[in-house]
């Protein structure tokens, strides 16, 4: 009985001594280590050698997420209307309404620009005019076009150059405003968006 008691006591004392030794050396070491590491990260953070990692939209897109995230679609794709590739009237209405929206959005901008031409620096003016001509070419009425041409002719020394420029603008506008409406065995149906 005494032997067992002494053994338990001895184990307890050993455990106690071990605890003290742990507290004195090991624990202090680890706390010191922690402080150091904190200091280290702070200095690195405030220093210039930090590398900034750019996160692009692709990284976000390809982020690994749990499967449960993908279980439910936010926007269901089933709402898309069934294909009616040859319903020309339907397509035409769609294009025309889109075009109306574009015209509505562009018109006020042109008005604003044409109201305050004096604020544009001399150097930028020619470039600005070109852009305006290109925009106006598509949407303006003939009278304002002719008036604008007359004005620009007075400004410019070579009206034929101006005409050529306008011609090229018209041509590129004409070329860019043609869209494929349907493809039937490689034979394409084109649609004009002007």
């Amino acid at each position: 009985m005494i032997k067992i008691f002494l053994t338990i006591l001895a184990v307890y004392l050993l455990y106690y001594a071990g605890n003290i030794a742990y507290d004195l050396f090991l624990k202090r070491d680890s706390s010191r280590h922690e402080e150091e590491s904190e200091e280290y990260t702070l200095t690195e953070f405030t220093g210039n050698n930090t590398t900034v990692k750019e996160v692009t939209i692709d990284d976000v897109e390809h982020l690994n997420t749990p499967n449960s995230f993908n279980a439910k679609e936010l926007f269901s794709l089933n709402e898309e209307e069934p294909d009616k590739p040859y319903d020309l009237e339907d397509w035409r209405r769609k294009f025309e309404s889109e075009q109306n929206i574009e015209v509505f959005e562009t018109d006020p901008q042109i008005d604003e620009q044409s109201l305050e031409p004096k604020e544009i620096p001399e150097d930028d003016r020619a470039a600005q005019e070109n852009i305006q001509n290109a925009e106006i070419g598509a949407f303006s009425d003939p009278i304002s076009d002719i008036a604008k041409n007359l004005d620009s002719e007075r400004e410019n020394e070579s009206p034929s150059m101006k005409l050529k420029q306008q011609f090229n603008q018209f041509l590129s506008l004409a070329e860019t405003h043609v869209q494929v409406l349907a493809d039937r065995d490689g034979y394409k149906v084109y649609h004009s968006m002007l």
């Binding site: 598509a138 011609f167 018209f170 041509l171 070329e175 039937r184 034979y187 149906v189 004009s192 002007l194």
Partner: protein, 216 residues
Amino acid sequence: MIITFGTQKGGTGKTTLAIAFANYISGISERKVNIFDFDFQKSFYHKWKEDEQSELPKLYDVEIIDEENEQPFSDFEHLIEMKESEDINLFDLAGTLDARYSDLLIYSDFIVIPFEYSNVSAKSTLVFINFLGLLESQAERIFIRSKYDKGYKYQNKEGMDAEISRYGLILKKPVFKRNCLQTIDTRKLTYEQKYAVKNAFAELIDYINKTLEINI
């Protein structure tokens, strides 16, 4: 009046049709026919010159308009004179659009646009339509199916016809693909050549008569 043969792309048989139309209309109309070759390649003019050796009588005169003959329409009144004239003034344009064509395209009475159903031709026809729209051309657009193959089913025919007919008249009768048209000259139309184009041209002339309320 001014009738212009034009497209935005070469190879649709524009000059061939222009020659055929000039010959055809010379045969049926009392009016004087004047041809203006506005194509920098001058194909019409060269053909006409070549045919001077022919024994057959000359049907019309062909003038060229090129870089040396600058700005033929800078004199605006001259263009309007041509437009209001009783004569038939026929212009053949190049397959590539040029800034010099602007006035002509605006003030022509009719623009005859040969087209095919190939993707390239269909697209360039619409580019040309767009371009005429941007120029605010007053001309009537007449579309003529060129090099049409009777035995072939053009898959995009229905769609393209619907689209093109929004902008002008498509002649119901096409000009079929015929080898005899390859040997056309400026002095005559052979029986086969006349047969190949007469239906389409009759329809075209009908439309011109109706629109201008005249009798060619």
